[in-house]
């Protein structure tokens, strides 16, 4: 896809380095689901009012 503002070679190299690092780091990650800790298992909805209104429908 043509981008209206193409990336520079330096930016392309930076993107490649980021993705290589991330994918290398996660290569040994577990494949079985792990339970979420209770303190993180909470909603992170950005628009709480919409969610609350929706539940009344």
């Amino acid at each position: 896809m043509m981008q209206p503002h193409p990336l520079t070679p330096e930016q392309e190299a930076m993107i490649k380095a980021i993705l290589t690092r991330i994918r290398g780091a996660l290569a040994g990650a577990p494949t079985q689901p792990t339970p979420e800790p209770a303190h993180l298992f909470q909603p992170v909805f950005m628009f709480v009012a919409e969610v609350q209104n929706a539940s009344k429908d």
Binding site: M14, R21, A29, T31, T34, P37, H39, V44, F45
Partner: protein
Amino acid sequence: MLRKTECMVDQIAALCGGDTTARLLAEAALSRAQVLDGLNAFVALDAVKVLAAADASDARRAVGTTLGPLDGIPIAVKDNYLTRDYPTTACSNALPLEPPGVDATLVARLREAGAVIFGKTNMHEWAYGATNTTSSFGPTCNPHNLSHITGGSSGGSAASVAGGIVTAALGSDTGGSIRIPASACGIYGFKPTYGRASRHGVLPLSWSLDAPGPLAASLDDIAVLLSCLLGEDPGDAATRGSRPFQPVAAFSRTARLVNLTGPGLERSDEVDAAVTAALQSARGCAVETRELPGMRRFFGAWETILHCEATAYHQPRLAAQAVGFSAVTRAHLEAGQYLSAQELLRAQQVRAEFCALLASGLGDWDALVLPTLPVPAPAIDSDWQEFGGRRVSTQDSMTWFCWLGNLAGLPAVTLPCGLSSTGLPIGIMLMGRPGQDETLLQIAKLIDTAVSQAE
């Protein structure tokens, strides 16, 4: 050292005792901001608005109708908080799409407590970096040495406190952006447990990692600020059911501290020596050293979640204003577009593994201990840092330890614990159990007291 010895609680006492006025505090802060203009700490500061708010505070005090504990106290605000009376730019030329003219919840809470909003502070563009050298307003300079960075992304907030312009400021923290500049500038910074401080009106970087919070001149200042800021907010569902900050009595039993080490947690010798000395001198603490395995994988999870959420948030802006971003920030956002849903879910699994390890794999602990930074504040023009046998980019050296607290949502605090051989501050970081922000602050006081007595 540029930091004044005055703390916010001193200012509060002086106001209550009739020894000063809000106008005098505001005038002093404006004067010092002018003197220290070279720090580049502020991106918007309107003296007329500041003095009008100060005069309103004095008028309230004169008739006994003060609003709260912060009435008349000048407090600076990072430029990613929406404010009704200042523009919000996130220090980028790719501008926010959010509507102007409203306050973020935490800014509104400061005003409800009577604070005088003291301008907007410089930051790393969109908080997507930790050096504060990438900003549409130019880099922020460290008050201890103008040729060194403040760290970021709340670098302007840290410089404004460390320079003695204000005694407190608001920042935000996704991988250490409160703690990093606080440590580099020799002040105090507190990242609350995820979900205890409202993100409403704080422009996101990564919504499941972001935590807004205060930087200040003392731990007592931090406690007063948290009392005004924390608690449930209908504008942020993550705060649902969270309680306000309720100060607890001094820590009465021995605090169990786990000093973390291992591959990926290296630090320079002088940083290690300062942190070790602080721990050895603290009374009422039992310190155990434990290795934390899997750092590379856990960091990969943090980085994946960060890039995916940031790119998701910025997608409309990236499509419409790509050239408005700096080259580096745009590259980070573009990278997020190549990460798959499967990779994000894998990262979330690793995140859960990390939280489980901290919850039960390190024994029974009250606080985890690390240096806040592996090195003192680097020079502005330095791209690489060397420590512990590693060569690391300056950007990665800033987030080296701090992202751990964001990945697990833990409360975390940094406090000064010494100076380097070149006179730059060194900080120690404590991370507490989720929701135990009050206890963490009390443990931090044990360390802070020991460090103060040793000076």
